[in-house]
Amino acid sequence: MTVAANPIGQAITWINDPLNWTNPGGMLDRLGEHLTISALAVALGCLVAWPLGLWLGHLGRGGGLVVLISNATLAIPTLALLTILPVVFASGFGKTPVVVALAVFAVPPLLANAYTGVRQVDPEARDAARGMGLSGAQLLRRVELPLAVPYLAAGFRTAAVQVIATAALASFVNGGGLGQIIRTGFGIGIAAGGGQIVAGGVLVAGLALLAEVVLGGVERLVTPKPLRRGRQRLGRPRAADATGSA
């Protein structure tokens, strides 16, 4: 069992080498890949989960389905999905299968929060809107959707942080991203690559924490003031993010 001599010192040296930033496959390349994959995955997840969640919430049905989907994805190892999807898509190992695999993990928090967001709307507000003669679609668009925005934002943050964390695993199927820096480090061996491994870890962790903080700010901004204090984050409990950070 080998152990690196001074991983933190090595990591600082590695990060300070400008070539490690600008080389092909350097930090900037990987960061770009990471953000592209994550953004596409979250967008795809929103596209699928939000309409479905809002619609189910509007109908007031399918709560069991939402819970089932959340629980099922908790048990599926990320690595398995990342490996299986590229084989299913005959396209091979381009970006698409990785994006789809990541989107699968973005769906549960988005879906659960969209559903809860609509369900928590005060029934009296709904009745008042009905009384004013709003049709079902109008009710959803003009009353339920605006009132669900804070929940949508909370789901978006959870999903995005989860996807950014999980995207690091894309490196196992040669999908690129910041995880690749860590994998390359392990390829070199811990004794020589320890610095690079730690540096990659710092980048991946830093990006995830940054996303959490920034999106937390966004969430606050879109939440109307009276609703800000004392509201717990809803939907899939943070606990269930487990798979996401896997």
């Binding site: 964390a165 860590i182 491994i197 487990a242 950070s245």
Partner: protein, 228 residues
């Protein structure tokens, strides 16, 4: 999308193959054993650390915020990065995986145990005090038993997510069934190997979860009695 019935279109490389399972039963069993043992040890250690930590957060209110916040930050760190931080110090052994798994499981358990402890009704607490229960006796006779549902929830969540997380241990060569998934990927996309390992992973999570539900029934007989 070209999802098709592979056993017909692609006889050489099916998704499911008993042949594979039979020929590699030793490897598969060893992987399952490693997977289960890593999960079991990680959850056990996490419980042993989480319980005192939760009680501390419960007794010393000002500490509750920081304890939950720190474990929350650790939880946000992607697993790959966490393993990357640990590996250079602990080497590429099973210990690295174990430490990472424990850190993740910790938050899930602490959060749920603290929630469970806080749910103990104040009247009950006061009644216990009125009966002359000291701090420790109240903890073991009143608070912890009443917090058992929360503890069980935490342990179940931690177990299921740990099973999924073990696979990331591939990075340092101790990923249990993840080892097979990754080998299948590298081995020219050996579908049967990938699928078998993935299904076993999910199955292991389900089995362990059911076991924990059973244990929960046994340790909280009053919950089922009340339901009846």
């Amino acid at each position: 999308m070209s999802f098709r019935l592979s056993y017909r279109a692609d006889p050489g490389n099916p998704w499911f193959s008993w042949q594979y399972v039979r020929d590699n039963s030793d490897t598969i069993l060893a992987a399952v054993r490693e997977h289960a043992s890593l999960t079991g040890r990680a959850v056990l250690i996490a419980v042993l650390i989480a319980l005192p930590l939760s009680v501390l957060a419960y007794w010393v209110r000002p500490l509750a915020g920081p304890i939950l916040a720190v474990s929350g930050v650790v939880y946000t760190i992607p697993s790959l990065a966490l393993f990357a931080f640990i590996a250079p110090y602990l080497g590429t052994g099973a210990t690295t995986v174990l430490v990472g798994l424990v850190l993740y499981a910790l938050l899930l358990i602490v959060r749920n145990v603290v929630a469970g402890l806080n749910q103990v009704p104040p009247e009950v607490r006061e009644a216990a005090e009125g009966m002359g229960y000291g701090r420790w006796r109240r903890l073991f006779r009143i608070d912890l038993p009443l917090a058992l549902p929360g503890i069980v929830t935490g342990v179940r969540l931690a177990t299921v997510s740990t099973v999924a997380l073990v696979t990331v241990g591939v990075l340092v060569g101790h990923g249990g069934l993840g080892q097979l998934i990754f080998a299948g990927f590298q081995n020219n996309l050996y579908k049967a190997e990938i699928m078998t390992a993935a299904l076993l992973c999910v199955a292991l999570a389900v089995v362990l979860d059911l076991l924990l539900i059973l244990v929960a029934r046994l340790v909280t007989p009053w919950s089922t009695r009340r339901a009846r």
